[in-house]
Amino acid sequence: MTRWRLWIPLLLFAGFIGLAAYLLPQPKDDFVHSRMIGKAMPFFQLPQALPDKPTVTSAIFADGKPRLLNIFASWCVPCAAEAPQLQQLRQAGATIVGVDIRDRSEDLTRFLAQNGDPYQAIGADDVSRVQFLLGSSGVPETFVIDGHGVITYQHIGDIRADDVPMLLAKLREAGA
């Protein structure tokens, strides 16, 4: 073995120490931000989640009206917690469409009966395909989409009461 090779383990280890020393003091950010923000929504078509409710496709976002796209599920506890805030947004004039993740229609019906139904349309995303297309990694998340189908904002986690005015402002920005 030549001598210089004996130094390789030490050099690799020094690299690791440098990396760890750089990362350790960095604040930990637990949110995974979508890389789709500012980009046009990819093409998709989802099946209907409920027989009497229109579904969500990428085509419906091209009518010039900004919308909120809410990723939710009946099995998700924070989704029930954010339901009143979605109702408020609805009453303030926002158009909300839902993407229902890995759900069953009878559970969804029960969820909407208990928590109210703010959705203009709901699509069933059984394998999280659309969720991943949008760059979302959790439930619930809410996206602001402008009238040309461009994603302008991502809200991660449930919508709290003080998030409502902020989301309405984002919608107005997207509408302009």
Binding site: W7, L10, F13, A14, I17, A21, Y22, L24
Partner: protein, 656 residues
Amino acid sequence: MIAELGLAALWMAAALAILQVVTGLLTVYAGRGGSDDSVLPEIARLTRPSAVMQGLLTIFSFAMLLWVFAITDLSVRLVAENSHSMKPLVFKIAAAWGNHEGSMLLWVTIMSLAGALIALVERRLPERTMQATIAAQGLVALGFYAFLLLSSNPFDRLTFPALEGAGLNPLLQDLGLAFHPPTLYVGYVGLSIAFSFAVGALLTREVTPAFARAMRPWILAAWIFLTLGITAGSYWAYYELGWGGWWFWDPVENASLMPWLAATALLHSVSVLAARDALRTWTIMLGVVAFSMSMLGTFLVRSGILTSVHAFAVDPQRGTFILILLALYIGGALLLFALRAGSIVEGKRFAVASREGALVFNNVMLSAILAIVLLGTLYPLVTEAFGVRVSVGPPYFDPVSAIFVIPMLLVMMVGPLLRWRQDSASRIKGQLLAILAALAVGIIVVVLIGGVHVLPFLGLVLALALAVASLSPLKGRKLRRVPLFTWGMVLAHFGIAMALFGMASDSAFTKEKLTAVGVGETAMVGPWSVKLDGVEPVAGPNWTAMQGNLTASYRGEQPITLTPQSRSFWAPPQQTKESALSTRWNGQLYAVIGEQSAQGRWQLRLWWKPFVIYIWLGGGLVALGGLLSLIGRMMADLRLRMAKRNRALRAGEAAA
């Protein structure tokens, strides 16, 4: 008072560690130039006793921690944060090491005990090497004393005692888990001995077969505990977490797997060094790497730099402290290696087709698997430095490690049959044919079963062939005269085959069912029919639960009762799922009960997992093989010592 006694003992132990480092290193450097033990300075006599005393003091300190937990002394901060007066006694005691500070105290206790043991019994090597080794052990322990005393004091008092403790994570209130961390720690920290031996040998440049024989039982002992700890941990995750999986490639699991891989490689290379005086620098390198992996794992888990389901209380300051320790110890050892390894003469040469050749090949494969696991574990760190967050899971680890596991298994079948130094395939033709026949039979059987994916397919076939191959070193030998350590190897290799069979069969044949059933209804999974007889509330010492009463029948046989529970703990409030298992020789039925749905039906999750228990039985067999081998080696050593003493006695008589 009890807590203060424990703390004082810890400070004294740290002081003794300093003494041991100073006297050990002075001895090594005072006697430089000659390796004659008769010219050791007088100060050398202090080194061993201080290591022994240090071990006793830490044991005392740890006993004091157990004591304050046993009596639930709520004026001690650690007790107030992690225990509760209503908890069963055994879990009160287990709570002592179920937290950061207590587990670090356990860590240094084991480390100084290991140091005390080598100081007490290991006298086969030149004394200068031993002095250097004990000094190295003391130096490593010193860093962890500093960590414990300066930033993680387990005996810290509260100004005002708490009224009640905060409880313990209910997932940890399980007997299996209570003893899983100590087992793993003995393994992790036991490897510090190999590290210190390697550093000691580098300091005195005495890397000899005698050194390998001295180091081997310590590695073997640590490795047995690691094997048991990993096996038990995997089984715990399987039945306690309630998702039916047994390995998740979670950073904490990887942190236990990496030292095991390094120790397995070390175990085999040290045998080559002991038998054939080859692979000197490689063995030293592995000795350094094995314990480095233990420390690295601790850092990854405790610093919060990686996210994991096993998260301990995370504190960046502690992370910085451990990182500094890592840089000092691993960096120092690697620096010493780089400076000194060049001057260690390469060992003897050997042919490719030989026992050594096979062992070297498997060493390289094990190291490659280690590198893959390390890379997968650290990769999220690297990408995060560039602002991208990823997580690495089974889709990476499974196929990529298989690339190296498969050739390793193939060579592992043949290696034990080969002779040292040089051999030819024609000598072992008979056994080779038997292995090939097993491979062929395996392929035919699995093809006939059909519908098995690539990796489980290979797993099943290789498991069968390895089972045959692992027994073939016994062929043609009188079984009663086969040495114990050979039995150990046979058993350990057979255990690997068995575990592999369990893993492959679990991923190939598992049947899963998620349904909602009403009381009186029956669900089918695989050959089982499971009937929900009723659901009733039950209460334990610190929890209440909804318990499902199930009767399960295997192919219409006599039904058995299963009682999965959905438990609610109140201190701290948390829900857990207690799965119910029914084990047969050919598999396990696994039942979990979930929530009640609106129509009064209960969610029931059922798995039929054919042969899954062989994973852990195999793991246990591997550890048992290690134990037999350890006993065999120790008995051989004792016989050698006796013979030496008898010869010395006889020589003395002759002289008189």
